[in-house]
């Protein structure tokens, strides 16, 4: 690049060229025609940019004007071609001469003569609307109309409030909407810090004055939406990319029948055969059972289950085992976590150091666990999470049922991203935009396998996603997520007292009555205490006790079950495309819609018309239904691939959240499509998909690596074996608890607290001497339990679509030296002793059975016994030194249990426990 730059500088400095006056029509336009029109022409307008007519040229594209006359280095046109960003990388760069011509033309004033002359750009109503939205509507808009004034429409401005019309056409100095700002009365000083509204800038005020001076004329604003005409920004060619066309089911290839169990095997084996590799042998039954139990429940199998399976020699023993695991309530706890990663579940708001705790987030967590246990069809699962509030008329109090509450709770999916609008410094537009951006990022990557967030600032560089389509998505969510009509996540100190909260209190009629009753009782007791406190002669401690009770009850009074929901309010602000993603640079107005590349480009987006007791846009419901239609190109492929990835460690598409051009192409495209179509054909059932995958010969293979594997399928892309896998953070902790008999299996409800030690160690607190499963431990971003962090549970920013499985020294250090693990080893030893008695050989066998579902090999038994005996020796030598007076037998017991605990601690640290074959 530096070379080109040098040449171009040389070039323009040549006197011969300086002498010649460059004109646009003669010198510049031909270069653009040859090099740019293909993508920025009349018909195709990439980045919403056309270079053929002068008006479009002056206006620029989605990133704004192209030229700053006289200043090539500040002109986007020059920047793009000079940096080599344009023409795109598959095209040759412009020649130094061409770059030189354009540079010199801009330098000498960018004269457009010979084309059409430039006109001064006037300020229009279209420029004023975003400005008013940004600065005024929080007090004069949908929620509040202070001074009886609403500024959202031209007619309302004209109508004005109790002090008269907002403007006097032609007279800015007499127009209230100008003078209030000039006199610094608006926004009110007291509100500036709290509301997030900042005063108009001088430039904005000038624009407003200019518009009023020019007559304050209205303009009908037309939203850019998909129509039945073809889309100039996305070509039909671009729609042909493999993942943008609906999946098609092709018949599985024919392969040698004996080695296959299911259709999946046929697809996989046909590829393996080409590389001269066979399936690995089937793993042994114990391995299979353990693998399946971890895969479906995140815990080792129970002994009964294992025995029944190993003794069941009927043909359907295996599917029966899978069914039993799928029916276990532990299934939802394991696979719910999979979904919570994608949603970015957290019990805190993030974004600020305070990281305030998010009340009631857990209700969404519980909803997810139940949905997995109930095997809710994936399509419904998505629709409820994306638009549950539009499915039910929740505002009609009399019709509230558990179903209604569930649907609202499901929308918690859209409320999981980090939210910085609930903390100091408060609620700025940029903070709100971050929330919206993250929510759309989660939806597009988790559900659609698209990196839409690239198109927030500019048209996607690789996929055909115009910036416009990103903002159409923004418009879909606008009925609920509106940066100009914002609701705070929950109550917090020094917030704008007028702002509304996004926690809903929706109760069944009977619940409502019960809560009311309870509250009346509480209030009654508070009143009694108040009266008692007024009596004279109360003892000090009595007073103290009453006051404490009073405080507690008052707090209780304020608590009532709420839902952290997202709901449409039926009054969306207009949606502007933000140039370069900057909310202070509004561009064109867009309406709701879906990515054009996933449609035929000639299908208007139609919000669902809802007749509920409160207004709703119906946009999200329409979006959710589009996303879950049977022939959607991405939805089924993406989820099938994710579940495959959970089982095999790698998706058929390795880049599981990027199905676009920069993603990895599928390793088995026909299999992916076959699974996706089959999934939809069978009611979007995830449990069925598990059964399908887990009954395949592919899944049931041994995980042993052979020389043939190493030479012909070294990284297992062809699936010639089952990959060995390290337990996840949650599985490590839950398994240790189960093995030590310290697992409390109470599901749901408020998350369990954590303890933060002064040196930074974070540990979950036990409930009645036991601990609940990891999914129920409070997930506060800044207080993640240390063991989770060590074993790769990442911070949700905004979510996690793929866990890593690192092998780092902190893991070993934690398992060796952490107090809780040590204590669990003691508990494990106590259990072993009570189940196996005092015989050391028996103890070792029993410990292996409990922790690893198998008996030790001779070698393992010997190593274990050796360890127990060495520890016993050390302990008795030490005991002999220090406490000779203690009774012999008691010391002997202690020594045995301590030695056994030492061995158990080793077993909890062993690779056999932490890795699943």
């Amino acid at each position: 690049m530096r070379a080109i730059c040098g040449i171009s500088l040389c070039f323009v400095s040549e006197s011969s060229l300086r002498a010649v006056e460059l004109t646009f029509a003669r010198d510049v336009r031909p270069i653009l025609a040859a090099r740019c029109d293909k993508c920025h022409g009349q018909k195709t307008r990439k980045a919403d940019l056309s270079l053929v007519d002068w008006a479009a040229f002056k206006r620029g594209g989605e990133s704004g004007p192209l030229i700053v006359a006289g200043a090539p280095d500040e002109s986007l046109l020059f920047e793009m071609i000079h940096s080599g960003s344009m023409p795109p990388e598959d095209e040759p760069s412009m020649t130094a001469e061409q770059i030189g011509v354009i540079r010199q033309w801009i330098e000498s004033g960018a004269d457009l003569s010979g084309y059409e002359s430039a006109q001064t750009v006037e300020v229009t109503y279209a420029d004023i609307v975003p400005l008013i939205l940004r600065r005024c509507v929080m007090c004069h808009g949908p929620e509040y109309q202070f001074g009886d004034l609403d500024l959202r429409q031209h007619s309302l401005m004209r109508q004005g409030g109790k002090n008269g019309a907002a403007f006097v056409a032609g007279k800015p100095d007499e127009s209230l909407m100008v003078t209030r700002v000039v006199e610094q009365l608006c926004p009110p000083k007291a509100d500036i810090g709290e509301s997030g509204i900042e005063p108009m800038t001088t430039a904005e005020l000038d624009r407003l004055k200019q518009w009023v001076a020019a007559g304050a004329t209205p303009l009908s604003l037309i939203e850019d939406v998909a129509t039945d005409k073809s889309d100039p920004l996305v070509t039909d060619d671009e729609r042909q990319f493999w993942s943008f066309v609906p999946p098609r089911k092709t018949a599985p290839p024919t392969v040698t029948p004996e080695s296959i169990r299911t259709e999946i095997d046929a697809f996989v084996l046909s590829k393996l055969n080409v590389s001269g590799v066979k399936f690995s042998a089937e793993a042994d039954r114990t391995t299979l059972a353990r693998r399946a139990a971890f895969a479906l429940t995140g815990l080792p199998p129970s002994e009964t289950l294992l025995i029944e399976f190993t003794e069941d020699h009927t043909a359907d023993a295996w599917p029966r085992l899978l069914d039993r695991l799928l029916e276990s309530p532990r299934y939802g706890e394991k696979w719910g976590r999979f979904w919570l990663d994608l949603a970015g579940y957290s019990d805190s708001e993030g974004k600020r150091n305070a990281d305030s705790v998010r009340p009631f987030a857990w209700r969404y967590r519980d909803w997810v666990i139940k949905a997995f246990n109930d095997d809710k069809p994936y399509s419904e699962f998505l629709v409820e999470q994306l638009a549950g509030d539009e499915l039910v008329d929740w505002a009609d109090e009399s019709s509230v049922t558990d179903d209604v509450i569930d649907r609202l709770t499901a929308t918690g999916f859209l409320r999981m991203v980090p939210d910085g609008t609930a903390a100091d410094p408060v609620n700025r537009f940029s903070d709100r935009m971050e929330v919206i951006t993250d929510a759309i990022d989660v939806v597009s990557r988790s559900l659609m396998g698209l990196t839409m967030n690239c198109a927030r600032c500019h048209t996607h560089k690789y996929d055909p996603i115009p910036q416009r389509d990103y903002y159409r998505m923004v418009a879909v969510f606008k009925g609920a997520y509106d940066e100009y009509d914002w609701m705070t996540p929950h109550a917090f100190n020094n917030q704008w007292k007028k702002s509304k909260q996004r926690l809903l209190e929706v109760l069944r009629p009977d619940e409502r009555a019960a809560v009311k009753d309870k509250q009346q009782q509480t209030q009654k007791r508070i009143d009694e205490i108040t009266a008692e406190l007024k009596q004279k002669g109360l003892a000090g401690d009595q007073k103290k006790k009453l006051r404490a009770e009073q405080t507690e009850l008052t707090a209780l009074l304020k608590q009532s079950p709420k839902i952290r929901a997202l709901w449409d309010r039926g009054r969306p602000s207009p949606t502007f495309l933000y140039r370069r993603g900057d909310e202070t640079q509004p561009g064109i107005l867009v309406g709701p819609g879906v990515p054009s590349m996933l449609t035929n480009g000639r299908t208007p987006f139609q919000p669902v018309v809802l007749k509920h007791s409160t207004p709703k846009t119906g946009r999200r419901l329409a979006f959710a239904r589009w996303l879950t239609k049977d022939d959607h190109p991405l939805t089924a492929r993406v989820i099938v691939n994710r579940i495959w990835q959970q089982h095999f460690g790698r998706g058929l598409v390795e880049s599981s959240d990027n199905f676009g051009k920069l993603g990895t192409p599928p390793s088995h495209p026909e299999l992916l499509d076959w699974l996706a179509v089959d999934f939809v054909e069978h009611g979007w059932s995830i449990k069925r998909l598990h059964r399908q995958i887990m009954t395949s010969a592919v899944w049931m293979q041994s995980s042993s690596v052979t020389d043939v594997h190493r030479s012909n399928d070294p990284d297992n892309r062809l699936l010639s074996r089952m990959p060995m896998r390290r337990l996840s953070a949650e599985e490590v902790r839950d398994t240790m608890l189960l093995v030590a008999d310290r697992l409390n299996e109470t599901p749901f409800g408020d998350p369990d607290a954590v303890e933060v030690r002064e040196d930074g160690l974070v540990t979950s607190k036990p409930v009645d001497g036991k601990w609940r499963r990891s999914i129920y431990v409070r997930q506060r971003r800044k207080e993640m339990p240390t063991i989770f962090e060590a074993f790769d549970l990442p911070q949700m920013t905004p979510n996690c679509t793929e866990r890593t499985a690192s092998t780092v020294v902190t893991q070993s250090l934690h398992l060796l030296n952490n107090r809780m693990v040590f204590d669990l080893a003691q508990a494990f030893a106590t259990r072993v002793q009570s189940e196996a008695g005092d015989d050391e050989t028996g103890q070792v066998t029993r410990a292996f059975e409990i922790a690893l579902n198998r008996r030790p090999s001779d070698e393992e038994r010997e190593a274990s016994l050796y360890a127990i005996r060495s520890i016993e020796q050390e302990l008795s030598a030490d005991g002999a030194d220090e406490s000779k007076s203690e009774s012999e037998s008691a010391a002997g017991d202690d020594t045995n249990i301590s030695a056994l605990a030492g061995f158990c601690h080793g077993l909890l640290n062993s690779a056999s426990l932490l890795y699943v074959d």
């Binding site: 040196d759 160690l761 040590f822 274990s864 360890a867 080793g906 640290n909 690779a911």
Partner: protein
Amino acid sequence: MSINQHTTRRSFFRNTTDGMFGAALASLLSDDVYGQSLDSGLDAAQTHFPPKAKAVIHLCMQGGPSQVDLFDPKPALKKYDGGEPPRELTQDAVFENDRRGQLMQSPWKFRQHGTSGAWVSEVMPHIAGEVDELCIVRSMYNVHPNHEPAIFKLVSGQTFPGHPTFGSWISYGLGSENRNLPSYVVLADPVGRLPTNGVSNWKSGYLPPVHQGTRMRAGDSPVLNLKPDYQELPAVTAAKRDLISRLDRIHKKSRPGQQVLDARLSNYEMAAKMQLEATQALSTADETEATQKMYGIGNKPTNEFGQRCLLARRLIERGVRFVQLFSRGQAWDNHSNIRTSLKSICDITDQPVAALVKDLRDRGLLDSTLVVWGGEFGRLPMSQGDHKKAGRDHGPYGFTSWMAGGGSKAGSVYGNTDEIGYASVENRVSIQDWHATILHLLGLHHEELVFNRNGLGERLTHQLETRVVHDIIA
């Protein structure tokens, strides 16, 4: 490690499609089955171009050291003392309050020092003595006037948590020269509370957790979980480790070709080595009395900070890449009583910091070690509060930081604030410029040190306009 090959942003993406880059990243993420490499993502790595520095010591002076009282003398403040700052100089202010107040001259005298003749106030006599090693940048600015966002910006380039801190980026880019110690060590105040923003000051965000800062302290267990958190005979611990090793070898024997199991075994060995090496690194018993005295160890105000400065040198000597020291709490946040409060934190840090620079030089380590000193912002030139007990409010619009060693331009002063020291006006240096320059000294190009996440190539300088400040590089 192909991340360090000379790649442009474009070819980065192209390589990702090839899968080559993806594989390199994956091997950073997990010690997996790629070739013979069993490293933890921390093996010392190639740089983009020959580096000047190999390691960094970041002296993080949280709170906002007052530039006009330390390194940026403003005679005009004497002239206008008690007057309002001129409106045309306060254009950058975010809050109206930041434009108000009476200008206040510095209570301390400034003098030129060394052969470079740089000005330093009398409140930092020791650092003044080392001024010929310093590269003083007077034209820094930050984007937020509150501590929390400004500190996030200083450490991660963004004003909110979640992005990797620059120590993590450096660890990610350079790996470690000593496998038995973490590559990024934090020496926070051992007695007081955590610094503002807590552990977020050294988080690795979306980079692999191995690049997170590890908090160390002198004493029994220098690192979390490094030693048993329970009572046990050493011989028993040894027996347990022996058992784990035996069981794992038996397990591995029947699973040939599962390389992750080798990595696991070596981790248990490394855990033992780390215990030894970290304990040694964090004990200053073998330092001479003269050295200890130079750092102010044994004298009340300087004892504790002096200890930590000395530990920083010891860690650098052992191959740690990035050592981060935090001064006590928000000791530089001198809202009131600046005459005593600023003096007091200078008394605590001045001698140890100067000793660290001198000690590194004397041991031939200064050329390869970049020392970076500064806060999240500076202070306004106006007074705050009652004039007798006046302090100064946060001043993000212009402030001073300095570098020493590591290829920075010794004995130089770069950039300027306006006449009253309110805002940076000449050769302005943003936080991302500062980061890019530090990376440059380490042989890393800020646009090429990239981590692929969510379809975006994330980097320390984000998508912000950034320049490497070549004028402060020797």
